[in-house]
Amino acid sequence: MGRTINIQPVTRIEGHARVSIQLDDQGRVTDSQLHVMAMRGFEKFIEGRPAEEVPRIVTRICGICPWMHHSASNKAVDACFGAEVPPAGTALRELTQVMAHINDKILHFFFLAAPDFVMGAGADYQVRNIMGIVQAAPELAERVVKMRQAGQMMLEKFTGKAIHPVAMVPGGFAKPMSDAERRELLDQAREQLEFARFCMDYAKENVFAQLDQAALELGQITTGFLGTVDSESGTLELFDGVLRLMKPDGSYHDFTYRQYADHLGEQVVPWSYGKFPYAKSWGEGLAMDLDNPKGVYRANTLARINVCDHIATPLAQAELEEFRANFGRPAQSTTLYHWARLIELVYACERVVEILEDPAICKGAVRRPVKPGAGRGVGCVEAPRGTLIHDYTTDDDGLIAEANMIVGTTHNLAPMNMSVRAAAEAVINGGQVTAEALNKVEMAIRCYDP
């Protein structure tokens, strides 16, 4: 007679999940699952609605990354309606979307992930959290809270609404930026860049330096990767580009947004409301076998850092080179998601500074009228949690006839299941189940920032 361990709620993540780990008589792990326990049905309930309203509805898919859904959705509607966005409108969209990445990465690293490293994986749950960090390292906590808040307020002051934004509209952006606003934001963005460099140094010294072999191997699996790069230069892109699907051996194939369904499929499993995306174009189906996985790829920070050829901003490029010198390409260690996340934080800050340094963002129209009609549009961006795909078809009245979405976190459902299994096997050997061991299983999940 074996037994089942249930970890629920999986904590310090976004959403509703349960981990089940099945043990045999000897306490050996025989199986495990990460269950997605809830669903809401956005693809269904936006059917029949005016497409131009949808970018204000789908934001509610995720309150941590609403800017991502807002921008992908607007791109999809633009494409359905054949709209052309003026250059300043596109610049404002990229600016705000990348600004949102900054806040998200600070939130994830310090509020959600860091307690495991700063307080320790085996620390009591009552202190292994941001409140514990506030007690143990008040100056650090104050600085983090202040910088994250400043980032939210930068977005809020310019666009009115930072959580569930409304400022992007089909055809462009709802309001222009004045030069005074630009200069004020630029000063703040430079401060954020300084903070990003501090975060990287802090993490290298206090977190990454202490990663021993066991920590690097926690939840390690071998998979392919999906991300967005510039179609010509192959540089890392968060806002716009082509999709790049890399095999575990490092070879890759680039394709446009419209071609996504030729390359990606989704499988239904009986024990999760979330479907499992896989690399359909590899022609091997989906298998989450640790020794012989098939069709499994990963998204989110490590994936983007692996698929890009380089990064267009200097500080992040230097970080990328150091990372690659240490871990190769593609790096497979799941724990390295955290490191990759901070490289992206540096990139996002540099990119925001770069965009704001160009006064062109304040010049010319930001929006053109759109004409509702029949069409199909696939809009993508890189969300913090992975490649975000919104695919809409509209009817003659410009109402949504059909919608399909693959959101960042779901790309990682198969990999997270595999990492849970790998971590469980590593930490529950011989049947010793401790609170620390179970937290380590969750730490493997938190790498993916689901």
Binding site: E53, G63, I64, V145, V166, A261, E266, P369, E402, V433
Partner: protein
């Protein structure tokens, strides 16, 4: 003694929790006066104990003076969680419009579960069709409910998400043992735009073009968006998004119209009927509205949104 607070999210998006974090420095201040005993987004308290060996049919949440719940109720597990929170907590706060009125997720109430599952597990260009998941995952209820359709709610904090000013006021009031002071009026009452009141409007336009405004001038120099012919739900939506420091309503600051995310002005009001009335009494031809049930996009619980009849043939 710090006030013990438990927090849960049901059919929600985590935006309400981010709104709590957006208290910023105020959050650090508040954390000195409250003790969070359960909050899945921040704290590793588990339903089945630290070793995961508790009875899977009997989840546990610690007792607390205050229980904050975001999200509506969509499945059996969320229903059980809501009831457990009610048992364990003294005062229940419904945080956000999903909890108070169903919010965006209640738009699904226009479809049946069978339609939803058909689309999700057997439709779309990427899905390999499969049977509906039925192991471990909690069965769906027949629709999305607001919290007070299932448990007694003591304090309502609508907003999608609620403004941090109202979250701070509510928690501070609870710490001090007094009633919180919350906004009562409509979004229009907090809107600085120019209203001339002359109803020359006969149509409301879809959101396809910009309203007229001078970006170098403050909002108080822009004409009301409804008077400019855009659908704006300010008249039928509860105030609050402008916060307590006399800011403008959030969407208006971005120069886009309100879509009603704070729910109705009176808690039991009907945003769709109220808006249709407001438009009709101004002589607007209601046929120009592209999506009437969409007026209930934030308040479709309480039986307001129901499955649509099978699609009508075009031209009908």
């Amino acid at each position: 003694m710090a006030l013990r607070v438990a927090e849960e999210w049901l059919s929600s998006c985590s935006g309400c929790e981010i709104a709590i974090l957006n208290l910023g420095a105020g959050l650090l201040e508040l954390l000195r006066r409250i003790e969070l005993v359960h909050i899945p987004v921040l704290l590793d308290h588990k339903y089945f104990g630290p070793l995961g060996d508790g009875d899977p049919d009997h989840p546990d949440i610690p007792e607390a003076e205050v229980g904050i719940i975001s999200g509506g109720v969509r499945d059996r597990e969320q229903l059980e969680t809501a009831k457990l929170m009610r048992q364990r907590c003294g005062t229940i706060v419904a945080l956000g419009t999903c909890a108070t009125h169903g919010g965006i997720p209640a738009l699904i109430n226009q479809s049946t579960n069978a339609e939803l599952f058909e689309r999700y597990y057997r439709g779309g260009p990427t899905t390999d069709p499969g049977p509906d998941p039925d192991q471990v995952v909690p069965p769906m209820l027949e629709r999305t409910y607001a919290l007070d359709e299932h448990i007694t709610v003591d304090l309502y904090l609508p907003g999608c998400p609620p403004h941090p000013d109202q979250i701070a006021e509510a928690l501070t009031a609870l710490v001090q043992g007094r009633d919180p002071v919350l906004p009562r009026k409509s979004v229009c009452d907090t809107c600085p735009t120019i209203r001339e009141g002359k109803g020359q409007l006969s149509q409301v336009a879809r959101l396809v073009d910009s309203p007229k405004f001078d970006p170098d001038q403050p909002l108080s120099q822009m004409r009301c968006l409804l008077e400019q012919g855009l659908l704006c739900m300010g008249p039928v939506t509860a105030a609050g998004c402008a916060g307590s420091r006399e800011m403008a309503p959030r969407c208006l600051s971005a120069r886009v119209p309100c879509r009603g995310c704070y729910g109705p002005v009176r808690r039991q009001g009907n945003q769709m009927l109220d808006m249709l009335n407001a438009l009709a009494s101004n002589g607007v031809e209601l046929g120009s509205l592209a999506d009437r049930p969409g007026l209930l996009r934030f308040s479709g619980a309480h039986g307001r949104l129901r499955p649509r009849p099978a699609p009508r043939k075009s031209g009908e």
